[in-house]
Symmetry: C2
């Protein structure tokens, strides 16, 4: 690459000090510098196509104007969409995003946090996997600015932006109840992660508020490490046998995707044999044989808000902001009451 022009080159050309060039180009001391000199400097900078060296700037200012994004799984469309909105907002604010994916693995998570910190990011946006609370505490102690996204720890006073998970699944379950379903099962994860357990709680609250007794057998807690077989078993047991459910709520897009595969391979029709509420906006929602009712997260709002909160945190380090954004339910054919669908 051709040598880039530096402040020094401009200073030499104009015949002033590099300090002066720096002041002019950064619009500092505006009223204390003669218009004529400022003009000359700007012109020279243009002619030499000056691009400031961010590295040098960073070394001096200890700011990189870079944010780190550590998602749990970038292959999950929830995170890739969210990443995109975060990138948009970061860019709008003049920040560059470095991203990484922990793949729900605490060891990888630790390693990536270190990688991002060694890149001197100014702040972090983090979707922590299970078992990483200690590392979040450590970040807090180091006073590294960060905002949690999607997941959070109820015992920790940290900024976060997440879904109102309880409301989200409450909404889904209540919709099923109002559509006439009474025998409602749920697939959720066996986990300590609060955001998932809040979803489970939303299911139970909705049943309870509508005087429908909770059946332990209908709440299936799936282990992430054994996803496919456990989902297959759960779907089978919920829909077959003597006491099948009329409807299933999925607590995440991963569970929904996996569950729908099972429903399809077990030739269970939706909504004729079982109604279904899916989670997150995905291509399959509309293209599934019966378009799926699903819980919609406000991704753009989440991404923007998280980024803005992080930038605020960076400038006023003691400020804590916590947000649980409301979900909406997109109602489609997969939860159509049987009576109605027979009339069609």
């Amino acid at each position: 690459m051709a040598k880039r022009t530096s402040l020094k080159d401009i200073a030499q050309l104009v015949g002033v000090s590099t300090a002066l060039v720096s002041y002019v180009l950064n619009n500092k001391r505006e009223n204390r510098i003669s218009k004529a000199v400022a003009q000359k400097i700007r012109k020279a900078a243009q002619e030499l196509n000056y691009q400031p060296n961010q590295i040098a700037k960073s070394l001096k200012t200890n700011k990189t104007r870079t944010l780190g994004l550590l998602v749990a799984d970038i292959a999950n469309p929830f995170f890739s969409s969210l990443a995109r909105y975060i990138e948009d907002e970061a860019d709008r604010q003049g920040y560059t995003l470095i991203f990484a994916s922990s793949d729900e693995n605490p060891q990888k998570f630790r390693k990536l946090i270190n990688t991002l910190l060694s890149r001197n990011v100014d702040g972090l946006l983090i979707a922590p996997p299970e078992g990483t609370q200690d590392q979040i505490i450590q970040l807090q102690q180091q006073a590294t600015p960060f905002v949690l996204i999607d997941r959070y720890f109820p015992d920790l006073r940290t900024s976060y932006v997440a879904l109102d998970n309880h409301q989200a699944i409450y909404l889904a379950t209540e919709h099923l109840i109002r559509s006439g379903f009474r025998r409602i099962g749920m697939l959720t994860f066996q986990t300590e992660l609060t955001h998932i357990n809040e979803r489970t709680r939303g299911y139970r609250s909705a049943l309870n508020d509508h005087q429908i007794p909770f059946k332990k057998r209908w709440l299936r807690e799936i282990s992430r490490s054994n996803l496919i077989p456990e989902v297959a078993k759960a779907i089978h047991e919920l829909t077959a046998g003597h006491n099948p459910v009329e409807a299933i709520v999925f607590a995440s897009n991963t569970l929904a995707l996996c569950g729908l595969r099972q429903l399809k391979s077990q030739s269970i029709r939706i909504p004729d044999n079982v109604a279904v509420v899916s989670f997150d906006e995905t291509d399959i929602n509309d293209l599934f044989h019966s378009p799926l009712t699903y819980v919609r997260q406000p991704l753009q709002e989440m991404g923007q808000l998280a980024t803005r909160i992080l930038l605020e945190t960076m400038s006023a380090n003691n400020r804590i902001t916590q947000a649980n954004l409301p979900a909406t339910l997109v109602v489609q054919a997969s939860t159509q009451p049987l009576a109605v669908s027979l009339l069609d």
Copy 2:
């Protein structure tokens, strides 16, 4: 944040110069430094939890160990998967990835190239949108190391890693022909991008090699800016009227997704009314009412290869490597010959 320990701190503690500390910690001059001193330095570094300041290192060496990835659309699962494999490989080689998405927009593309360069990335991985050939030439002239991915310009001598696009659609079309279909339509983009036009050429070659006359009406060139209405019209005209096709090949996942929506909304059954070959691995392939036959790109190999070629290019700047990787066809029910499906 607490002040980080620097080389100076270690030097002071041990009572040597920073130079010596630098040599030891970077394993330089190994045999010319006394074991005892080296030991002491390493121990001190450990105790003080020394993390080298990458920024300072970069300023001095003019290397950031950062790669820039500029995809055409990060929301497209093809690119998000590819990004993931690239990130994996970059990480394995000790590089951090900065990514950005041009959204197929040449202006945004130009801006993002500049952003990435101002971050002093050591090299770029680029999926160029239409109308950006000039900017690629400019990068070449500046001797910025880069590798094109997914797309490339046949007139330019640049490194690239792409699909063997001709082979990919040839394979798909030939499969349809061998399955007994003769009236085969294709949805492709109206574009100057070579990778897409190679796909179209693959379709024509396959027809030609099997003595099936090419019908202009059956090759529909869709404009990206008017996607949905044009796809709707194309699907309608290909499947309705007097002279409908028996099968449709989609030239990309975007076209397939959009086309499948239309087929569904126009209640056209697959493969009963029309056989379909989709493009890329997506969730819908398996979950569509009839599992879809699709063209599979070797994403991991692409990502790894592109990253490795870039690193080679960076160390030996004149080397050009071009790769067109073969696609495979995953055959599922959507291209099942009608005769056979009637037997089921």
